[in-house]
């Protein structure tokens, strides 16, 4: 049975149930970072997100130590549901709970502070976006980007407001992104270029 990130959800649940502490750490390593991200998006409060994330894993680990779940292959859904239930409950009360899970592992996955490298990459991105916008000569491209990225309208809203059908939207946004990507290619941020692809 694998004890690294290739372990399946069923193996993790079974492993914890068999008393192997490695699988408890693996559970947090595999899902902790994503769950924390999800909770931060929902709460806009890093401390609260961290508390709920920690509490979620405490509950799950305690449950798996003494039993299992019906469909361990759906562990991700179980984790999400547990966390959201806790969040709902937390919003009803402010008392925080103390836990005894592997806090070190959780701290490791939650350490997502921006590094100086990240800061430089973001500055370069802002500059590249500025150059890309200045290179746009088509007013409609600008309007679509404005509506999409700044006013945060979705495709349906943009199409409705600009009397575009979805095919047109795809074409225009694709062309605008292509132009932006051409500017960004001068930089080396592969992840952002992939997002634009």
């Amino acid at each position: 049975m694998a004890t690294d990130n290739t372990a399946t959800s069923t193996e993790i649940v079974t492993g914890i149930n068999s008393g192997d502490r490695n699988f408890e750490t693996l559970l947090i390593q595999k899902y902790g970072k994503t769950l924390l991200y999800i909770l931060e998006r929902r709460t806009h409060d890093k401390d609260l997100a961290q508390d709920i994330c920690q509490e979620t894993f405490r509950i799950l680990i305690e449950k798996f130590r003494v039993g299992t779940i019906d469909e361990p292959e759906r562990l991700a859904g179980y984790i999400q549901q547990t966390a959201i239930n806790l969040l709902i409950a937390e919003r009803r009360k402010t008392q925080r709970r103390k836990t005894d899970i592997d806090s070190e592992a959780l701290d490791a996955v939650s350490d997502r502070r921006a590094t100086p490298h990240d800061e430089i990459a973001l500055m370069r991105l802002r500059k590249a976006v500025r150059e890309a916008i200045l290179a746009l000569h088509n007013e409609r491209d600008k309007e679509i980007l404005y509506r999409y990225y700044i006013e945060e309208q979705d495709k349906e809203q943009v199409c409705g407001a600009m009397t575009l059908d979805f095919r047109h939207f795809d074409k225009v946004i694709s062309r605008a992104r292509s132009r932006l990507k051409a500017v960004l290619e001068a930089n080396n941020d592969d992840v952002i270029q992939e997002e634009l692809t």
Binding site: K33, L35, I38, Q81, L125, R130, I133, Y146, R175
Partner: protein, 263 residues
Amino acid sequence: MNPYISSFWRKSASSFSRLDSLGPGLRRGGEGISGAFDFAPSWFVVWFIVMNNTMNEQYLNEHEVIHRYLVDKLPDDERDAFEVYLLEHPELLDEIEAARHIQNAFKANAGLLKKSRFPAWLTARSGQGLLAAAACLVVAVVIVFRLPQQNADLPLQPPVILETLRGQGDDIIQVSGTPLVQFLIDVGPPALSEELSYSLDIVQEADGSTLATAQGLHVDQDGWLLFSLSDQRTPLQGLYRVRVVQEGRNVMVGEYRVDFTAE
């Protein structure tokens, strides 16, 4: 698709279609899964996605899930389904963060994108706006055969779209009963196509006679090649082949079979 679910959906579609009429919010797509989902209310689509584990890359792209997640516009059920998918695919976190950074970078430059109060050609100092406006008029090539001066009076039908990227194979496109037909041809990715020129000819399949030809066509600002056919004098009837060729390299971009029938 699971045939049982497919069958179940077909049986259930009519009962859901009434919910669909309540508004666009209940009509959040499902085309990525099946065309039958056009009528599906969002909760059904999300239920289907969760129960059948069909949220996938195609669904994410077609429904802009990441963008809508970032701007908090996913309905609760769809957000739940996406979060479960995210837990199973943590590699998506980097993509989401990249999208968020791009969005923030745009916001940091919002002033550059804000719509000007006047048309571009009035405000552009260098005259580029004026040139762009003129170019739009030029590149939206309309080829009107016969009596072009009368076309303004003709009833406009929705344009017939001829696609090359998504493939129409040997399908015959039926066009009937309209004196003025507009065609939109997808000639490829806009970034590549907008610098190129194209020629087009329309040939009757039965006898190989050429109905019309045109050279030096350019895509419009949306990347479409646009042309119109009018049959006011002689009704268009029969099977035709529309061929589009990239000029210079003489590369065939697309060939479409169009069947004109009287109404």
